[in-house]
């Protein structure tokens, strides 16, 4: 078990910082889950919910930022404490961007034509579920300080990117073979897929921060198994 701080006030604030991040993560995970489901359901109320949750995410990010600033000013953290505060700041920024992408993709998903190709919807949904799983895993690695899990989720991004490219290729091929109106309709799934792919990228960034938080070193950025 990790030793506790001799300064109880400092200890309390570090705990508060982690609690604030857990709260923020839970909102973003919920947002992503709802947004991915909207790809299939096209439920406008759920899409609106992602918008409402996004406002909560923005507030949560400000809370993390304010508390980090307070800790740095009043307690001057060093070593593992300093890394935690920096990681919290960076992770909260990544989460905030994930929230934005979730909101945007839900908004676009409800306006996709109901006659749009089921296979493509299924492909987008599958990409969304994999991104969701990656986000859950990377956040779990952060709160459990699990380096191996962080590395596993970091590697998962290569699969997400492959899936995204395959979906993109499929969309472009279909647009080539169809009418101009279908091309217009096709831009929405492209933007949705791009949002999902970006969420995966932000999850990768979090994995890097988790590894830094635990070890003090950044992961080797070469992705040998990718491209």
């Amino acid at each position: 078990m990790e030793n506790t701080h001799t300064d109880k006030n400092f200890e309390q604030k570090l705990k508060q910082l982690q609690d604030d991040l857990i709260k923020m993560s839970e909102i973003v995970e919920k947002q992503i889950e709802i947004a991915v489901n909207v790809i299939k359901t096209k439920d406008s109320q759920d899409a609106q919910l992602t918008q409402n949750l996004d406002e909560q995410v923005d507030v949560a990010e400000r809370d993390v930022r304010d508390l980090s600033f307070e800790i740095m000013t009043l307690h001057r953290p060093v070593a593992s404490d300093l890394r935690l505060v920096f990681t919290a700041l960076k992770v909260s920024k990544e989460l905030e961007r994930m929230g934005d992408h979730s909101r945007n993709l839900a908004k676009r998903a409800i306006s996709i034509s109901s006659s749009f190709d089921d296979e493509l919807i299924e492909q987008m949904y599958s990409l969304g579920k994999n991104v969701q799983s990656m986000v859950n895993q990377v956040l779990d690695s952060f709160f459990k300080k699990d380096e191996l899990k962080a590395k596993t989720s970091w590697n998962q991004d290569a699969e997400i990117d492959k899936e995204y490219k395959s979906l993109l290729k499929n969309l472009i091929e279909r647009m080539h073979n169809k009418e101009t109106s279908v091309v217009d309709e096709g831009t929405k799934p492209i933007l949705i897929a791009k949002s999902l792919e970006r969420i995966g990228d932000h999850a990768t960034n979090i994995a890097e921060e988790v590894i830094f938080n635990i070890t003090g070193h950044y992961i080797d950025l070469k992705k040998s198994d990718f491209e």
Binding site: T4, H5, T6, P77, V78, A79, H217
Partner: protein
């Protein structure tokens, strides 16, 4: 990499110190790079001041103190060997203490005393030059130039400590040991001493014991963490305060000790 003998001001190996039956330092090996400021940190009773005092044989006067191990000045001279007299050693390795301790003499006499007894000046003019240069280097000259004959104990705490630094550098040492030199000073005087330490680094190797972790992080290039007489970790200050290798170091500097 081939280690340059002359790159270290002091090399120590397998140092152990006992006070009677009590072990104060347990098998410490550490080298001090020239022109670096090295901070020795650790909780009270960890042995950091005992270790510092071994470096210019200040522990010799304590009968119960037994020092073992190797101490080499500039990689060659055995600090505890017969080839060097303690007085000569302390010319080379000066010391500044926790509490400013000027002699109850004039400001001038405080600085001139060392050069006089060590025969560093052959004329009054040379002595005047040494005193002026030392006070200048200690950042005190401008404040005292018009009252050199005033009694030194009338200076403020910060000025007295800078006078002690001027006194230490007047005998042209290579190394300056400092044992919590700012613990009796206010923040402004502390800042002035810290600035001075940074300036002195150009010409001297400085080894400082400090209880203030923020001071260690501000002024030193290297930091050594002691605990229960053992050297737990020694490395670049920036590394020690961001990603120390040892969990014990992390626990101490983050305030999780005990």
């Amino acid at each position: 990499m081939v280690e340059q003998v002359n790159s270290f001001a002091i090399k120590t190996k397998n140092v152990s110190v006992h006070y009677g039956n009590k072990m104060a330092i347990d098998d410490v090996t550490i080298n001090f790079t020239k022109n670096d400021v090295t901070s020795l940190i650790g909780p009270s009773g960890c042995g950091k001041s005992t270790f510092l005092r071994c470096l210019n044989r200040m522990n010799d006067v304590i009968d119960s103190c037994k020092v073992q191990g190797e101490f080499l000045l500039n990689g060659v001279t055995d600090i505890y060997g017969d080839s060097i007299q303690v007085e000569t050693l302390r010319e080379k390795i000066g010391m500044v203490f926790q509490k400013p301790n000027p002699f109850p003499k004039s400001i001038f006499e405080n600085v001139a005393y060392g050069p006089k007894i060590h025969g560093l000046a052959s004329t009054q003019s040379e002595l005047n030059d040494i005193v002026m240069e030392s006070l200048n280097r200690a950042g005190l000259y401008d404040e005292v130039k018009d009252r050199m004959d005033d009694i030194a104990t009338g200076l403020s705490g910060g000025q007295q400590q800078r006078l002690c630094i001027a006194r230490a550098i007047a005998i042209r040492p290579e190394i300056i040991l400092m044992d919590e030199p700012c613990s009796a000073l206010d923040p402004i005087a502390t800042a002035r001493i810290e600035e001075l330490i940074n300036e002195l680094r150009e010409n001297y190797t400085i080894i400082i014991v400090t209880h203030s972790m923020s001071q260690a992080s501000r002024i030193s290039q290297r930091t050594a963490f002691f605990h229960l007489g053992k050297l737990i970790e020694h490395g670049d200050t920036s590394k020690i305060f961001t990603k120390p290798d040892k969990e014990q170091t992390n626990d101490y500097i983050t305030g999780r000790f005990g």
